[in-house]
């Protein structure tokens, strides 16, 4: 604290008046029931570092979500110029310089593994950071509560409004709120579909009613989900629908930074009175501000609980109160269980250890998977072949006694230009190769960014016919740049 604010807070001490809020936690320690009808929560506005951080994260995540499809990326002709595009009709996924074909969805697996490990890592470092700041449910609920506050006022005003009899004012406010919510919902659903088609074109189509029906129904479904999840269900989604809170308990250990109340410092709690002796009591003045700001409606002073999403708004609320009554900050703070123990044992606190077996292993795994993916991406070939050996018949005996096998060869040209290829074989003696509908085996044309299919016959004279089966390779060579793809397959003949 600088001098000015120090002075200000000193000055305010004499006039310190902290409102004690009459609020019950939804899951009070004293009476927890397995099933309870929902108690409506009216989160009070918090002010402070974490609230600011949450606004920033909200702005960043929403900006990424709404704006990402509008980023252009020039891929040259024959390819879309949208940076992030999931092109279902053409079965392509574009992400900036990365282009993924359907058979390469293992990249997605890698991405999911990295995402999961990343979640494990941040959770083991700082608790439910994901839940508290970046989870879409949190972000949109926060946005919806912000709108609610804008229209209906803060906590006490909202409670009053809900209790008030029906009036023009009440109807107007409620209607405005729901209309705004639905508009946000529609914008959310609207943004989603832009990831699946050329965004500018689709936007025009959407408003001129030219867009496919699936676009409208997707918008409707997602708008509905956003409205119901963000506006109506809110914390219920986290508490009852989401499996993640149940899993996260296993990822947090005694060295993880978690939002917690220092009961050793706060207890015994008692209401605040002027000029009282802090030596005989705890710092908690039981003003319930921490409960009132909690979007989950819980009381952090009851200790760690499933419902807590670690959004840290209670820290802001408590710090504000502590400043006003001129007590040290961080009665509620990011703290480790180790420190709780150490304080209890009368030992000094220690800095949280970032490098622990758990975090190092998670980080190492992320690095390994990341490197594997990077390697796969760098060595990704722009030419792929798939070979299907005829199963019925397995082989055909020719009039001269020779054996012929049929193959369907699919050549994938992953470049954005037409390429011409030559097919050859290696490892089969005296074999003759012919391509149906082609003169010779050279100059097979595959259009840009496409797959082409060729019927190929391979025959060997009777003298070279294998006994049963013989392995050999097809070699497909790009006539222009000599790029080769080699695939092994089998030649079958009668068992002798």
């Amino acid at each position: 604290m600088d001098q000015a604010s120090q002075a200000a807070s000193q000055a305010s001490v004499s006039s310190a008046k902290v409102e004690t809020i009459d609020v019950d936690a939804v899951n009070k320690k004293e009476e927890r029931s397995l099933y309870k009808a929902r108690v409506k929560i009216y989160p009070k506005r918090a002010k402070g570092v974490f609230r600011k951080l949450k606004w920033l994260v909200m702005a960043a995540t929403l900006a990424v979500y709404y704006l990402a499809p509008w980023i252009r990326w020039d891929r040259g002709p024959n390819a879309p110029d949208q940076a992030i595009l999931i092109d279902f009709p053409a079965r392509r996924f574009y992400f900036f310089f990365i282009e993924i074909w359907p058979e390469e969805v293992y990249y997605l697996t890698g991405l999911l593994i990295i995402a999961a490990l990343g979640l494990f890592l941040v959770t083991s470092l700082a608790g439910r950071v994901w839940c508290g700041y970046t989870c879409p449910q949190t972000v949109w609920t926060d946005l919806f509560i912000w709108v609610e506050r804008l229209v209906e006022g803060d906590r006490s005003a909202r409670i009053r409004l809900d209790k008030a009899p029906l009036s023009v004012n009440k109807i107007a406010r409620k209607t405005t709120k729901h209309v705004l919510w639905i508009l946000i919902g529609m914008a959310t659903g609207g943004a989603w579909i832009f990831y699946f088609a050329d965004a500018p074109t689709l936007l025009v189509d959407l408003f001129t009613f030219q867009a496919p029906i699936v676009a409208y129904s997707t918008v409707a479904i997602l708008a509905g989900c956003t409205y119901v999840f963000g506006g109506m269900m809110r914390e219920q989604v986290c508490t009852y629908m989401c499996p993640w809170p149940r899993i996260q308990g296993a990822l947090v250990d005694e060295e993880s930074l978690i939002v917690s109340y220092k009961d050793d410092r706060g207890e015994p709690r008692a209401p605040f009175r002027k000029n009282m002796d802090w030596d005989t009591r705890g710092d908690c003045i039981d003003c319930n501000q921490c409960v009132a700001v909690c979007p989950m409606g819980i009381d952090i002073r009851d200790g760690q609980q499933l419902e807590c999403i670690h959004c840290a708004l209670c820290i802001d609320a408590c710090d504000e109160v502590m400043t006003r009554i001129n007590r040290p900050l961080n009665l509620i703070s990011y703290d480790t269980y180790v420190n709780h123990e150490r304080r209890a044992a009368g030992r000094p606190e220690q800095k949280p250890r970032i490098f622990r077996a758990r975090t190092v292993i998670y980080a190492a795994l992320i690095a390994i998977v990341g490197l594997i993916m990077l390697a796969a991406l760098i060595t990704r070939s722009t030419l792929d072949i798939n070979i299907l050996h005829d199963r019925n018949p397995l082989f055909v005996k020719l009039s001269d006694g020779g054996i012929r096998n049929g193959y369907t060869i699919k050549i994938l040209n992953k470049q954005h230009e037409i390429r011409r290829f030559e097919i050859a074989i290696e490892g089969l003696e005296n074999a003759l190769i012919s391509v149906v509908g082609q003169e010779g085996t050279s100059g097979l044309t595959v259009p840009a960014d496409r797959l082409a299919q060729f019927r190929v016959f391979v025959s060997v004279p009777a003298a070279n016919a294998p006994d049963g089966r013989e392995d050999f390779n097809f070699v497909v060579t790009d006539l222009a740049d000599g790029n080769r793809a080699i695939n092994d397959t089998v030649f079958r003949g009668p068992e002798q």
Partner: protein, 289 residues
């Protein structure tokens, strides 16, 4: 039935009144969202009864408000598919086989159509992969009894082999043994000769005797060197492909009793466009001439 309402001491919740091994079940209500979903399903179901055909009656069923019928739906979809195919089928109907093969679009359509028509009409005898069985030719190989050009294949499909159609491809090989045209020894000799010209193990002495018999009895149809004759449907005997088997035993059986393979004519069963597609498909199997 009313029973005494009993409240659980610990939770203050009403029990169901049953007791299992000293454990009493609490009568907790279902979550409300679950209940509402359930009610919504009931409302949906009632709506469904009204809108769609639902209830079976004695000789019919309720028709529903919008007159939907899944059968009619299928009929419409088939008609739609037929209409979509018509633009190709109409062109195939009038085009020559050579023209169809020269047009990539028609060729691809014919290959796909021919494949499915083959599966329905031909695979019963020739096999799913046209691989053939004893007595039913393999259509993948390069040996054709009646010719393997698209036109010849088309003629075979149209009129069949030894079928009831008046333009059918017809040939009869005499039953040399059964009808007493050849002595048993002569049959054995000619069989040895056929083994020789098809490059198999044989008795040289008997084969040279057999050559004379072959020249007299067989060469008029099968050719001087056993090269066969498409016009007469006489198979080539000097290659490795045999319809009824090429070993000593099978050959002896053929010469003694003859064979009489039959394929139906398809003129009146399949339309012209389908037969053209079939001819092109069969020709594409790899052995077409």
């Amino acid at each position: 039935m009313a029973h005494n309402v009993e409240k659980d001491d610990v939770t203050g919740i009403e029990t169901t009144g049953h007791e299992w091994d000293g454990i009493k079940e609490l009568n907790n209500p279902l979550p409300r969202w679950w209940l509402w979903t359930f009610y919504a399903c009931i409302v949906w179901a009632i709506g469904y009864w009204v809108v769609y055909p639902t209830w079976p009656l004695i000789s019919s069923h309720t028709k529903g408000m919008i007159g939907y019928s899944s059968r009619q739906d299928v009929v419409d979809k088939i008609a739609e598919a037929k209409a979509a195919q018509a633009q190709y089928l109409d062109r195939i109907e009038v085009a020559s086989l050579a023209d169809i093969r020269a047009d990539t679009e028609l060729l691809n359509f014919s290959l796909a159509g021919g494949k499915s028509a083959f599966a329905v009409n031909c695979s019963q005898c020739h096999g799913q992969g046209a691989q053939g069985f004893v007595g039913y030719p393999n259509l993948n190989d390069d040996d054709w009894i009646w010719g393997g050009t698209p036109e010849e294949i088309s003629a075979t499909i149209h009129y069949g082999i030894r079928s009831a159609h008046e333009d059918t491809r017809f040939s009869v090989m005499p039953a040399f043994g059964k009808d007493g045209l050849l002595e048993r020894q002569q049959i054995n000799q000619v069989v040895e000769y056929v083994l020789k010209i098809s490059g198999q193990e044989h008795d040289e002495a008997a084969a040279s005797e057999g050559q004379t018999v072959f020249a007299e009895q067989c060469s008029s149809c099968h050719g001087d060197t056993g090269q066969g004759l498409h016009d007469l449907g006489a198979p080539r005997l000097s290659d490795a492909i045999w319809l009824y088997g090429g070993d000593r035993q099978a050959l002896r059986e053929t010469v003694t009793n003859a064979r009489f393979g039959v394929m139906p004519d398809w003129t009146n069963r399949l339309d012209e466009a389908t037969i053209k597609q079939l001819a092109i498909y069969v020709h594409s199997l790899g052995g077409g001439e």
